[in-house]
Amino acid sequence: MRTRSGIWSIRARIALGVLALGLTAACGGGAPAEAPTTAPVANPVDQATAGAVIGRIVFEGTVPAPASIKMTADPNCGSDGSMSEALIVGDGGALQNVFVYVKDGLGNLTFPVPAEMVILDQKGCHYVPHVLGVQVGQPVQIVNSDATLHNVHAAGKTNREFNAGQPIQGMKMTHTFTTKEVMVPFKCDVHGWMNAWVGVLDHPFFSVTGRDGAFSLKGLPPGTYTIEAWHETLGTETQTVTIGAKESKDLAFTFRGAGA
């Protein structure tokens, strides 16, 4: 038969246990695996404090004459002799088709994957755009807008290689990359001059320079970052930048060619 004092003893033990658990939780103890992470599911960037890195990329040196492409191998491509996109330098040395991105500094933050598709078109027997960025898991739609057939051959090193045919005009296929990789080369083996580069990242802080050579990485949390600029023929340049709350920093990259 259980006595009154015995019942109190049990209640006291339970209360003490609950109290101990509460104290443990309040003091942030417990197993390391249960420690709160710095990787929220939603976008962790506080827009009230977010800053930006903006800048321009220039080419210094003798600009080689752009190589013309001979497209007579396929009459459907036209014979206008379009130019190679491997090195496009605009006014004031503005360097086009540079992929600029945050290489390091985001820690283990994770970011939501955009649902909207990124379009990679095959138009006039060229990939449009020539360089683009995409997040891991974000759908990329590859379209054949040409009245000829293409094969879409992506030869990633960490992402799975694939080679798919698009023999009919208007054909579309959707692909998602599974891991970050800078850069995944795309090519069409039918038209040897056709190539594109896709930068695959696990965050949204990337940009591709246009005709003016400008880039902007907006919405960055305050912190110190390694910014890399990648160009398909000129290689990479890296700089470190620290931005405070709501701060916008300018960054200039210079790629040097022959004669610089």
Partner: protein
């Protein structure tokens, strides 16, 4: 009578196929048709001609020629099976058929697996075997072979020295071609950009795997040249009157000279497509010519040959029934001699 002609046609078509394969790799078109055995979903022979553009022209064209050659070899093997009395020749036909089927499968696999080096090199190397088999069949079904080249004053001599050096030359040429295929498929064709020196030196001052395979191919070319000179020199010195040996020897010398020129032009032109592809098929022709010379030099060791010794030897007619080993066995004085006039 028609069989050797047909076999020669098959051998020529196989050489054309090798040239077409060389064009595929030289133009970087290997993956321009991503599926196999279909082409963009079409059955191979119904693929629209107007879609044969760019790299497809080379890759799909290669597939069409390959399938045709496969069919020709199938007919050849059936023909041999039905009409050829010599078992070992019939077996050559079966082996050629098996080899060309394996070659087709390798070609398909290398496309589906995005041109892995090992498979592509195997595909290139087996192509040479298929070519050699068709050339060998054309040779051993020819009237000259069957008559042991006895149209001249005497049958082909059983010159062991010539047989040995010719066989070593043929084997070395094959190894050299495999090295070339390795260089080709590992993108090492311009790893040493100058010629005849290597980065301005006789021996490259720097090394990596691509430079090593490229340099090995160059050194191999010197080895092939030396061996070919030894073989043909032996023929010219000892067997100049033997037309069946003299002619392939002259051809071999010319082909080696052409091949060296094409190799140099391939490097100096930055792998120009035609030079590059001709280098591939000329290499195959060097191999096949050396094989023909080796087989003709060894004719006396096959059955049905009248035995004539090397310049310093003489002996009785070689009877035998089939493969060279049996010829040797039949020469054993303890064994009874085979019936005269056995077919070769």
């Amino acid at each position: 009578m028609l069989l050797p002609l047909y076999a020669a046609l098959v051998a020529a078509s196989t050489a054309l196929l090798i040239f077409a394969g060389g064009l595929v790799t030289s133009t970087g078109s290997g993956l321009s048709v991503p599926d196999w055995p279909t082409s963009y979903g079409w059955f191979m022979f119904t693929f629209p001609l107007d879609k044969m553009v760019g790299g497809i022209y080379y890759e799909h064209g290669h597939r069409l020629i390959a399938t045709t050659v496969g069919g020709l070899i199938l007919v050849l093997s059936v023909w041999l099976w039905r009409a050829e009395p010599r078992l070992w020749v019939r077996r050559l036909g079966y082996i050629a058929l098996a080899a060309v089927i394996a070659q087709g499968v390798l070609g398909g696999i290398t496309v589906l697996w995005y041109l892995p080096d090992a498979i592509s090199i195997a595909h290139a190397s087996l192509a040479q075997i298929v070519f050699c088999l068709t050339v060998a069949i054309a040779l051993v079904t020819s009237s000259g072979w069957k008559q042991a080249y006895s149209g001249a004053a005497s049958p082909t001599p059983d010159d062991r020295m010539l047989q040995a050096v010719a066989a070593v030359t043929t084997g070395f040429i094959y190894v050299q071609i495999v090295a070339g295929a390795t260089m080709r498929h590992t993108e090492a064709g311009l790893a040493i950009p100058d010629f005849p020196l290597a980065f301005g030196h006789l021996v490259p001052p720097q090394w990596d795997p691509k430079i090593a395979i490229h340099y090995a191919h160059r050194v191999g070319a010197l080895g092939v040249t030396a061996l070919v000179l030894a073989t043909t020199g032996h023929v010219f010195f000892h067997h100049w009157r033997r037309r069946e040996l003299r002619r392939p020897s002259i051809l071999l010398l010319l082909l080696v000279a052409l091949q060296l020129t094409l190799g140099a032009l391939t490097v100096l032109s930055g792998k120009q497509v035609i030079f590059n592809s001709l280098h591939v098929v000329t290499g195959a022709c060097v191999l096949a010519t050396s094989l023909v010379l080796t087989l003709r030099a060894s004719r006396a060791r096959f059955s049905g040959a009248a035995f004539v010794g090397s310049p310093r030897e003489s002996g009785p007619p070689s009877p035998g029934f089939g493969v060279p080993g049996r010829v040797r066995a039949a020469r054993d004085p303890r064994l009874p001699s085979a019936p005269a006039g056995a077919k070769a």
